[in-house]
């Protein structure tokens, strides 16, 4: 992978927004395009064990930000962090990853493939720790202040009651960054943290474009192709939508179509991106 460069707290390359936070890092070890540090970027964080809702929203947010040319900042954790990065990569956007350990340790991480992709696609990985530093219980919460420090705004997608994302949100608030939280069902344990953030004053993230406007960036709209459904596909889609996620058996009983026809149509609709299957259920797709 690329070479590691070190940016000292006092150098001009060190971004002002990060220098002005309450407890700024002494130096940043960087790999990749350091000019990204001076661009307006948005942090997207959330639960490791995300639900399909969290996964879809994280991908949507990542993709939308990338389409408008805004780098997505995250922590390379499993779950929401990775999904937001994947969404951004889909739209050929730039990533900024903040590590909770030294850069030599990257290769031992489950997410090493994504880290490589980040660099290959012209992104940036930073860490305040020297390359040989191991991860520990304390380093991850510490790096959260850098995620919010680099970002102009922070989006929390899904968070449980004790999620590390809530620490990031607190840092962001202390640093004067706008915090957005994605609202969820009030009985969903993975949305408890984000809903509480909204109660305590975070902006509910309802329309992604609002966030882009708020940080003073322009919205770009890529071409979206529509799709046509035939009568049977329409029936299946209807069943999936009304049940907000249906099993094959439910679709078969709703539509009255044969098991073999339903199976083959679902595959075709999956390829078109109209529906998506996840953990044994078929959901309406994102496109």
């Amino acid at each position: 992978m690329d070479k590691i460069s070190v940016i000292d707290n006092s150098s001009a390359e060190f971004p002002d927004k990060l220098r002005n936070i309450p407890d700024p890092p002494k130096q940043l070890y960087c790999m990749g395009d350091t000019s990204l540090l001076h661009e307006k970027s948005v942090g997207v964080v959330g639960a490791r064990k995300a639900t399909l809702y969290g996964k879809n929203v994280a991908i949507m947010v990542g993709r939308r930000l990338a389409e408008s040319g805004i780098p997505v900042v995250s922590g390379f954790a499993m779950g929401v962090d990775s999904f937001s990065h994947e969404g951004a990569l889909e739209a050929e956007g730039k990533l900024i990853g903040v590590l909770g350990f030294g850069m030599d340790m990257m290769r031992y991480q489950g997410n090493y493939a994504l880290m490589k992709k980040c660099i290959e696609s012209g992104g940036l990985i930073v860490s305040e720790y020297p390359p040989e530093m191991h991860a520990s219980r304390a380093t991850f919460p510490q790096r959260n202040r850098i995620i919010s420090g680099i970002s102009s705004a922070l989006v929390v997608v899904e968070a449980g009651m004790n999620s590390g994302s809530l620490i990031t949100a607190k840092c962001a608030a202390d640093q004067g960054r706008t915090v957005y939280a994605v609202p969820g069902n009030i009985n969903s344990s993975t949305s408890m943290g984000t809903n509480l953030l909204i109660r305590d004053g975070a902006i509910p993230m309802v329309i992604i474009d609002d966030l882009i406007r708020d940080i003073g960036m322009e919205i770009c709209n890529p071409n979206t192709g529509g799709f046509k459904l035939d009568a049977d596909e329409e029936k299946i889609f209807e069943s999936v939508r009304t049940r907000s996620g249906a099993t094959s058996e439910e679709i078969i009983s709703d539509t009255g179509l044969s098991a073999s026809l339903v199976s083959s149509l679902i595959t075709v609709m999956e390829i078109k991106g109209i529906v998506e299957s996840y953990a044994g259920r078929i959901y309406a797709g994102m496109r």
């Binding site: 064990k49 099993t247 009983s253 098991a259 073999s260 199976s263 083959s264 299957s277 044994g280």
Partner: protein, 508 residues
């Protein structure tokens, strides 16, 4: 005086011929035995002596030497008791001369009764095929005799046996026939009940997708994996699968009977054999599954020969145990090597597996929360890949059927309808020149029978990238789509066949 009696032993699941030579000379009384007898055979000395005396014969005086030829074959069967006893009686001059052409098997009880033995059927088959004019078997093995065919006589004790073998086989009437065995069984109450109601797929309402998958799997003998929360009906489906397969041929019936005979599971209505269904518990060891032992005996895969092997909770099985399935699944037989001998058992079976979606079983369930950690899930997924998944062509997700879905007036497929579909698909395949199962198609056959049109190729290309498939999963989907096309009586594989086959891929 010298005597030679024809008999047989069961080695693996094959009958092997053995001659029992007896010679009585002068010396201290006793029985010496040579010719690789196992401990079980050596112990028969005590049984033989008591049995002969208690049957009212004189026990010859002098030094008795028994030789079992061929000397190189290891013999481990109590079925040599009766031929040895008869041999001693003949060479001791107690019963006169025995006529040629008799093959004798049977274990002895101390009072002179003849007891049943394991593996009688392959022994009888060997003796019949090797020119024995008449065969003597224990009365307990009479049911198997009906399957072997030939001039077979069942005896209850040594005296009955001696009465028969003093006459030439051709002169003795009253051989066991299939009808006689059947009548005799019905006469005395018939052992186990015949024709108990088999569970039917018609009893399962709303699992139409699973039923469809079972029909496809049975038509192409594709390995099928069912993933679903506890209580969603995986075991119910599995228990009914054998019923969907076509009725057994005479040959398959005989193979199944041989395996049962060897493993001592021969019940009295062995002629009523159905397709086997075996569901070993996940604590089973390697030997239990594929067979083993110093004198190898068949394991579950051989008991499931021509039937269904159901592995429930597949992730709980020991990895090495699953790994050992690889070879028999490919070769449809398993060979064990013991002390310079190879023992081959058949193992051509339909494999059916079931797994929970995660260790706690509730991932993706609407009502119960999954309590597994990410690490648990990762570990579980790793288990579900590799050697297990190589054996699986089709995967379905099953979900509990809600009560509200059951109240419709829909009547689902029954076992009979599904079996008719399977038979029609197999017949169609034969008409197209394919005689094996689609899961066994090799590369050359695939290029011939699974050729795709232009549109179909374009569709598969799209699917390949959208579902990030591997070459292996591509091949599997192609084989399954061939079977779906057979069920549709279509010579070409069309897009809807491919699309349905892709629906049975392993999903996240």
């Amino acid at each position: 005086m010298y005597s030679r009696i024809s008999s047989a032993v069961c080695s693996g699941i094959e009958g092997r011929g053995v001659y029992v030579e007896t010679d009585i000379g002068r010396g201290l009384p006793g029985i010496g035995m040579v010719g690789l007898p196992s401990t079980m055979v050596m112990e028969s000395r005590e049984r033989i002596k008591s049995a002969i005396i208690n049957s009212g014969f004189d026990f010859p005086k002098g030094k008795i030497t028994i030789n079992l030829t061929p000397a190189s074959l290891r013999k481990n069967s109590s079925c040599l008791d009766l031929p040895m006893a008869v041999g001693i009686l003949e060479s001791g001059g107690c019963i006169g001369e025995i006529k040629d052409g008799w093959g004798i098997i049977g274990e002895l009880s101390l009072d002179g009764r003849v007891l049943g033995v394991d593996g009688a059927l392959p022994m009888m088959l060997y003796l019949r095929e090797n020119g024995m004019g008449g065969i003597i078997v224990p009365a307990d093995n009479a049911a198997e005799a009906a399957l072997a065919g030939g001039n077979i006589h069942a005896v209850k004790d040594i005296r009955e046996c001696v009465d028969l073998i003093r006459r030439a086989p051709e002169e003795v009437s009253g051989a066991l026939s299939r009808e006689r065995v059947k009548n005799a069984m019905e006469g005395d109450g018939g052992g186990e009940a015949i024709g108990t109601a088999e569970p039917d797929f018609g009893d399962i309402v709303g699992q139409e997708k699973a039923k469809r998958a079972v029909t496809i799997a049975a038509s192409g003998r594709h390995g099928l994996l069912m993933i679903g929360s506890p209580g969603c009906g995986k075991t119910m489906i599995a228990g009914r699968m054998a019923g969907v397969m076509p009725a057994m041929t005479e040959r398959e019936r005989l193979e199944a009977a041989i395996v049962r005979s060897v493993t001592g599971r021969s019940n009295r209505n062995i002629a009523e054999i159905k397709r086997p269904f075996r569901d070993p518990h996940h604590t089973i060891g390697r030997a239990g599954l594929i067979g083993g032992g110093s004198y190898p005996v068949p394991g579950e895969i051989t008991l499931a020969h021509n039937g269904v092997l159901f592995l429930d909770e597949i992730c709980e099985f020991n990895k090495e145990v699953i790994e050992s399935l690889r070879l028999p699944l490919e070769e449809k037989k398993i060979t064990h090597f013991r002390k310079g001998e190879a023992y081959t058992f058949p193992s051509d079976f339909q494999v059916l597996m079931a797994a929970n979606p995660c260790p706690c079983g509730f991932l993706g369930d609407r009502d119960r929360e999954c309590t597994c950690t990410q690490a648990d899930l990762d570990r579980y997924r790793r288990k579900l890949s590799g050697p297990i998944m190589d054996r699986i062509d089709m995967t379905i997700r099953m979900e509990k059927v809600e009560y509200s879905d059951l109240t419709g007036d829909r009547t689902g497929l029954t076992t009979k309808e599904m079996r008719e579909q399977v038979i029609a698909a197999l017949d169609f395949a034969k008409k197209c020149g394919r005689y094996g199962y689609n899961s066994d198609l090799d590369e050359k056959e695939m290029s011939e029978y699974c050729a795709l049109g232009k549109e179909e190729q374009a569709f598969m290309r799209k699917a390949y990238s959208s579902f990030s498939m591997s070459p292996r999963s591509y091949t599997r989907a192609l084989k399954v789509s061939r079977t779906i096309a057979d069920l549709d009586a279509s010579e070409e594989i069309k897009i809807n066949h491919l699309a349905e086959a892709l629906n049975y891929r392993l999903q996240e």
